[in-house]
């Protein structure tokens, strides 16, 4: 009896865990990752297409008005460029992890799957937090100006630019909260599955 029960003992290798039916936690994780992917992609795209043009008439020469065109684009500010890049990279990471979660159950990861996902999740959380905060403080500067440094606020002149940037920032912070929750769940999964 003893040798037979020994051969029937299941092996807790990492690749065999994924052959089981997906538990409730896995579907929560997939749903959260989908939301985080959509949020980071939305933040990156909205900031990328953020542009506002204003035409002012500064003088009139004879009958033709002299116009001055001012544009506000996201790439005038390095902080917004970093914001777009960080959110783009994070959305690529979320998409890859989504694919791995949904379709990657047949690939052999040599036991590294959950650990790599947990580490990459944490690194992406820090990346998104850096990008979102830099853009947040630049937006605060644009909205309130800084009287001590003689920097005027620009949001009263370029209202639509400011509103769209604010929307992208909200999406990015929502994505940050979601990615933090996902990271915690991934680590808990690693700890549970190796007990």
């Amino acid at each position: 009896m003893a040798p037979q029960s020994g051969t029937e003992k299941p092996m807790f290798a990492y690749s065999s865990i994924t052959c089981q039916a997906k538990s409730g936690w896995s579907w929560t994780l997939v749903g959260l990752r989908l939301l985080a992917f959509l949020a980071t992609a939305a933040a990156a795209v909205v900031m990328l297409l953020n542009k506002q043009t204003k035409t002012l008439v500064i003088a009139t020469v004879g009958t033709t008005p002299v116009k001055l065109t001012l544009t506000a684009k996201f790439h005038h500010t390095p902080a917004f460029v970093f914001f777009v890049v960080a959110n783009g990279l994070a959305s690529i990471h979320n998409l890859l992890m989504l694919m791995v979660d949904l379709f990657g159950s047949k690939v052999d990861y040599k036991g590294l799957r959950f650990a790599m996902i947990a580490i990459l999740d944490m690194l992406n959380v820090t990346l998104v937090s850096g990008g979102a905060n830099a853009a947040l403080f630049m937006a605060e500067l644009g909205k309130n100006g800084n009287s001590h440094a003689r920097w005027d606020k620009i949001c009263d002149k370029f209202g639509r630019f400011c509103h769209r940037g604010g929307g992208a920032l909200i999406a990015s912070f929502a994505a940050l909260a979601l990615m933090l929750v996902i990271s915690v769940i991934s680590i808990v999964k690693v700890l549970k599955s190796s007990k």
Binding site: T71, A115, M122, G130, N133, A134, L141, S183, L191
Partner: protein, 163 residues
């Protein structure tokens, strides 16, 4: 091997504590008074919200680092340290990136928004802020290394057992 690892992490945490404390102190003590067109104005770190956030974040992280130096090495709280390290690293990266974004505007200005650089008028203040940001960046790198190490330390014994 375990002994050298413990000493190495203790030293690394000590250095990390030192860098965050010095970043906060250098930024908080940056101040310069200058006269521009018969008007005297003073540049302080508290004029700029991003620098205030930098000081506060580094102060919080140095308190955390100080408390962690006294944690005994075999305690079970090291698993909590993994989670707290993630939050702390996130706080540090956000504070350094915000401060860097505003410091860039202060140094190079933003011609599209009509913002002039202020570093020419207050060079001593600018240099001190630059120093604080450099030290802050070093502390970010050290805390990232510590985070990777704590993940490795908590997860690796569990991985090695089963494989």
């Amino acid at each position: 091997m375990a002994e050298t690892k413990r000493i190495c992490t203790f030293l690394l945490r000590l250095i990390a504590f030192g860098t965050t404390v010095s970043a906060a102190i250098i930024m908080a003590s940056s101040r310069e008074r200058t006269t521009v067109l018969a008007l005297s104005f003073e540049a302080k770190y508290s004029d700029i919200p991003a620098f205030k956030y930098f000081v506060i974040a580094n102060a919080i992280v140095s308190i955390y680092g100080f408390l962690l130096l006294f944690l005994p090495s075999e305690s079970l709280l090291w698993r909590l340290v993994v989670a707290l390290d993630v939050v702390i690293t996130m706080l540090l990266t956000s504070s350094i990136s915000a401060a860097l974004a505003i410091a860039y505007v202060g140094k190079k200005g933003n011609p599209n928004a009509g913002w002039l650089p202020i570093c020419d008028q207050v060079p001593k203040y600018c240099n001190q802020v630059k120093g604080a940001l450099v030290v802050g960046f070093i502390s970010v790198i050290i805390y990232m290394l510590l985070l990777l190490y704590s993940i490795h330390r908590v997860l690796n014994p569990l991985l090695v057992e089963k494989s």
